[in-house]
Symmetry: C2
Subunit: 345 residues, 2 copies
Amino acid sequence: MQKKRHSIKAIAKELNISVTTVSFVLNGKAEENRISQKLIDKVQAYVKEIGYQPSQLAKSLRTGKSNIIVFMVEDISNPFFATIAKMIEDKAYEEGYKIIYVSTNDDAEKTKGLIRMFKDLQVDGYILTPPLGLESEFVEEMSGDRNPLVLFDRYLPEVNCSHVVIDNFQGSKQGLDLFQAQGNKNIGFITIDSDQSQMHDRLEAYHQMCQQNDMEPKVLAIPYKSYSSQETEQAMKAFIEDSPEMDAVFFATNYLAMRGMQLIKQLGIKVPANMAVIAFDDNEFFKFSTPSVTSIVQPKEEIANQLIQTMLSLINTPVEKREPLKIVLHAELKERESTQIKVKG
Amino acid sequence: MQKKRHSIKAIAKELNISVTTVSFVLNGKAEENRISQKLIDKVQAYVKEIGYQPSQLAKSLRTGKSNIIVFMVEDISNPFFATIAKMIEDKAYEEGYKIIYVSTNDDAEKTKGLIRMFKDLQVDGYILTPPLGLESEFVEEMSGDRNPLVLFDRYLPEVNCSHVVIDNFQGSKQGLDLFQAQGNKNIGFITIDSDQSQMHDRLEAYHQMCQQNDMEPKVLAIPYKSYSSQETEQAMKAFIEDSPEMDAVFFATNYLAMRGMQLIKQLGIKVPANMAVIAFDDNEFFKFSTPSVTSIVQPKEEIANQLIQTMLSLINTPVEKREPLKIVLHAELKERESTQIKVKG
């Protein structure tokens, strides 16, 4: 389907000039190498005539630059990642970069295999949600590479690597503060069983609240990878039924809150009258459902902006002059019907 | 970060054997080339010892095979595409293939640029939602290439190329039949202004219904690319307010239905009492919203299955023996609250 590929060698032969001259012209280095304007015009006219397209692969092998940035996220079907993927792509495209996405499945081995593949393809940079179990040494070494690595959504506290994350502690705290301001006394916390930074910090805010208010922590940590959605629901059901005094639940992820709201409806518990609900991470469903769901909104547009700006700034800085760029953004509490209760005595 | 890369040449020198011998062993071609088992063991032991990883790029340049399939969709942030992307990835991974995603933005020029890039990267196959304006000749030529092309979601009727699509006409007809069975007399149709096969066939079902029932078609075709979401809402508002007798609306896309349901709520129109609603393409919101929304459900799992099976079957068939594989799947009507009205006289 492509035009027949002509080699630089064939062009040189046809025009009876050297391969080097053709190469200089094609790479925009003719002037600095004192090639005459007449010769430049001749090469360009011929190349246009035969419809020569330099091979991107040959070009990137030569220049070490592919203008490709890879965006490696846990799961591209998660609306949070999918939306940011799209936003990044639009911004990168304006800057002349193409974005390729892959899902890591939060699997360290798969991630390393993908990175090896992308290294061979000579991509220019990596945006990565580091999977569980990815070794610090691996990230450390990669972040010193010529092609920059920017961590996203979560980071490794022990590694000095560029990242764009949100303040998960502060985000969760806002929600928990609202529960308290509304007089909720028995607040449960449903999360996934993960010590990745983003999950750790959300739970940390809950533990701090419990400690400061002398509350007994009520945490359900679901081993979500080994659980089917049915098992997840059963675990939530048991958790809610075992604590009839619970008057509020904080869901630490989007996905858990969707399941949870459905379950609470099935159990006949009225939201917010009998139970207030907050979800970490917003989505369309929370906006339009009845009742609508209060959530901690991550600033997606700003995250996407910062990811691209950080990446381009690193790419455009010589590797020996680079300093890791660490961007921490704030999440916002969006109050909706699921927390609109009268303040209790 | 990677282990130091050792070349085949260096290995050959170190073991004092020929480069060809090393290459045969590494490519599993030692036996057919009568290399002794002793020598095979020696090479393998040494390669293991030094942690040699053959370069994927070098390998794919040599073999013309990268074990990469690209999945090029209109917009990866659309939940329909994002979900299928994930399903495909899981299936492909089991078969030893990696999936790379990109968004085409339904832009023919961008799509062609991406395909050129992927050709250079020597990917093994292309799954593509062909964008508006992609020339038949381009698709025609590409579908004769060594690396297969499978169209998805939509196809070009004039081109003999493999595809996996659903029967959009039959899917829409099921919804329109339900409206009629429930006694709706004034059915509106809201779609986007596109003549791509999937949109064409949905509208066609509506026009057929109008013709057979002597109804005046009421179609709003939104030029969605040039419209902001505010303009889209205004156009819908005018369309609905101009036809107070309208008692049912069929939304031809997911996205339009989400906006539409919100708008109908704002206008104080009761669903389904005053207006029945059906959406083409299901999502979580339709399932959980109040009222829940009747929709035409595309069989995502089956689509993903067929895409991978079709792709692998083409990859594994010599190009001269290939016949285009054309898979058409059926969508299902999922009845929910937005159409549960009593049958009128």
